[in-house]
Amino acid sequence: MKSFRTLLPFLVALLVSAEESLALELPAREIISPGANQWDGEVLEITKGRGATIGWYIEAREATEVTVSIEYTCTELVDQEYHVSFDSHIRFWEVPVTEGGSWSRAELGKFQARPGLPLLVLLAPPSNKKYNHALRFRRLILESKTPGNLALARPPEPPATPNAAPGFGRKLSALHPALAVRDLRGETAWRISGMAMREERELLFTTWDGDLVALDLKTISEDAPPPFRRLARGLSEPMGLAIADGRIFVTEKNQATELIDTDDDGDFETLRCIAHDWPATIDYHEYLFGAVVHDSHLYFSNSVAMAIRNTHNRQAPLRGSVLKVHIDTGETEIVAGGLRTPNGIGFGPDKSILITDNQGEWLPANKLVHLQPEAFYEFRSRPPWHPFDQFVTTPPAVWLPQSEIAMSPTEPILLPESWGPYSGQVIFGDATFGGLQRVFLEEVDGLMQGAAFPFSQGFRHLFNRLVFTSDGVLYAGGIARGNDREFINKVSGLTEIKFTGKEVFEPLAARLRTNGIEIEFSQPIVEHAGWNPAAYFVTQWAYQATQSYGGQKVRHRRSEVRSATVSKDGRRVFLELPDLVENEVLRIRLPQSLQSTNGQSLWAGELWYTVNRIPKNLSGNIKAPPQGALTAAEPFFQFSGQTSGAVLYQNYCAACHSLDGTKRIGPSFQDVKKDAAYLRQSILEPGAIVAEGYENVMPPMGSFLSEKQIEALIEYLLK
């Protein structure tokens, strides 16, 4: 009897383990996407860092600590660490070489699992590296202290996409009805890299080629090219220009500079180096981006190197920082870190400073960042880390999903009072996606967050820098890379943009509530419309940054819209969303059929809201709909699936690859092989075959397109 009692716990444990294991295996065969890496039976041979999503979704019944291990072989030293991400908590793994190619098991780290929504576990190889020896692995093993606590979950099926039209799931294709533009292209195609007003009538801009150019705005006539005057030259790749009290400041490649005309003859013969107290290399991509002066300090960002990604991948210290330099003493302070290609800095509401950053390594999507002291925005390369690096990072104010609302966001600028309903909001340009996008910002629980809206396309060129005159006229400068003059002429230049005050029906703002989101419209919506929750197609997802390029949407799913309540004045609709989750993005599609009381259709019907925090005790009002308000003559959204390839092409490819032979950054699809295997390889591994006459600047798309999307895209391109 005594011996049975002794054995009892053991027997119980044995029975439990027979049914519910403490360990969960994550087989290599079950990963989300191998990218350009190869399978060998049950084993994945990782030789390429970019384009793969080596990850699994799991579920946990209860909160518990989980130990993650890997079964692998690696016969030669991997010179950079792998990155392991468990529900956004990260560890780095220095890969030990295994003896004679034998299988080995290594612990990757201990993490905290939580119940609720599925967790994503990711193994991210060193970015962009190509190895001639593989890291071979066949499974990850997750051990929990509670039997049966963990289970492998199927990757969530992304929601079906409603049929799209410009401004409704597809990039806008025309000029906003309330804008009037004038093309100020001169005989020279200026590649504009910085803009500022010197006085009320004098616009100054710098060019990538090193010029400082002036334009007296009162001398522009309709029948002659604008009278540009070159004031200075020989600047070293300036990417920002600011003017304060008549003093001119330029952020050049490696230094912050004040331009001085000592003898007052109009020529800037003196370049005062205000500061250059941060390390630099000769990497082509190390720029100082943007320039704003605030409280006698010049603020700008220094971008990270790119050419090194295929070699040692070590950044010079302090790259990716926001720096502030006193304009008189040159005293330099690091304000924040963790940026990648922050090609835009500008003022937001209440003198806040906003920065845009471009999707890539550690950025699964583009960002609009609210600058906060000592914040770390997540870009890393490898140790030594940035002094502000911390594993709990500062989220962006607004995520700008790749190819949906941005691709290479540029300078943000606050809209002045003269822009009527948009006053106090922010717009920004894009050096690839084109056009202007609009952002509404609000503060929730001390954090800035808000919504991005498509605003306008239909301009002659892309916008890199923006500046307002005191009377609210916007000047927008474009830039182009490379040496192809034809291409540069096409996408560079200067445009004048005026707000005409014309009333346009569109979603104006979006404010988060405890139980949903309130959308404000620019005009009242027609009576009895807007009450039907089926009229709002809402999806939501999170992002999980890794050292690999880009990233897929995490837990991408359709959201329940439980009710819709229209305000008395018809200008606001409150959508009750019972499944709001912090640190996720909401994408809201409105139906094209929605009309205003004066009979206007929506200009654009889409927004992306970043939920950093859900406000407490700030519930939206829910009311019963008036009689007959829920009936709809036809469904608000169609799901034919026929346009998905076309939309993917428009959103992801069209900026660089035409269909009709027109020359863009990359070759036209008319000039490439009409072959599914070739197209697939080009999508997954763009560097494998580079068309003659073009540089490989395309990222592998496998990290942010699902297999289904890749198939739809290829099918469309083959047609």
Binding site: G210, R230, A232, R233, E237, E252, Q255, T257, F268, L271
Partner: protein
């Protein structure tokens, strides 16, 4: 004829205005030179180039461009091209009272007849200012003018070793050190 001449002259005017601006890249190039991120290349006369490491306040190379060729190759990062007249690949820097100095680059000016570079040198709480002028007009010799301000009487500032050995003062002595707050011309021997 006169009309044609006037048209020609009118077309030429903007070009002349451009040519008068400082920092003409065919004479002053501020892109990184020979792998040194913060550097500058200054042309003296028609074909002599002086290349500086601005972070260290040192002259890294003097070279003569090959006949009919530019002394610089490349676009946003340039490489010196031509016959080397002076080179310093050492890590040697300026010293003050036998101690290395902390160097801060202050900026540059492009005047009609010369190019000027300025640095601040720190040692403890004391600071010096070094100004270097490169005459840009064609001369018989490769020349630089140096002036240091802030030294006390009897003190001197020592040039990097390679420069001290290769450059001479107007008295024909090795330009090992400078002092006195006066302009000192040194030439390549």
């Amino acid at each position: 004829m006169i009309r044609r001449f006037l048209t020609f002259f009118a077309l030429l005017l903007p070009l002349l205005a451009v040519a008068q601006l400082p920092y003409d890249q065919s004479a002053i190039n501020r892109y990184s030179l020979d792998g040194v991120p913060r550097s500058i290349s200054i042309r003296q006369g028609a074909d002599i180039w002086l290349g500086y490491d601005l972070e260290r306040a040192t002259l890294i190379r003097v070279w003569r461009a090959l006949e009919g060729e530019s002394g610089l190759k490349g676009t946003f990062t340039v490489k010196s091209s031509g016959e080397t007249l002076f080179g310093d690949k050492s890590e040697d820097g300026w010293t003050w009272n036998d101690e290395p100095v902390e160097v801060h680059y202050l900026g540059c000016s492009d005047f009609d007849d010369r190019f000027e570079l300025r640095w601040e040198f720190k040692n403890g709480t004391r600071t010096l200012q070094l100004t270097e002028r490169v005459p840009t007009s064609k001369g018989e010799i490769v020349a630089r003018d140096l002036k240091v301000e802030g030294l006390e009487k009897g003190e001197s500032l020592t040039l990097p070793a390679a420069a001290g050995a290769a450059w001479k003062t107007d008295r024909g002595e090795a330009a090992k050190e400078i002092s006195g707050g006066q302009w000192i011309r040194i030439t390549l021997s």
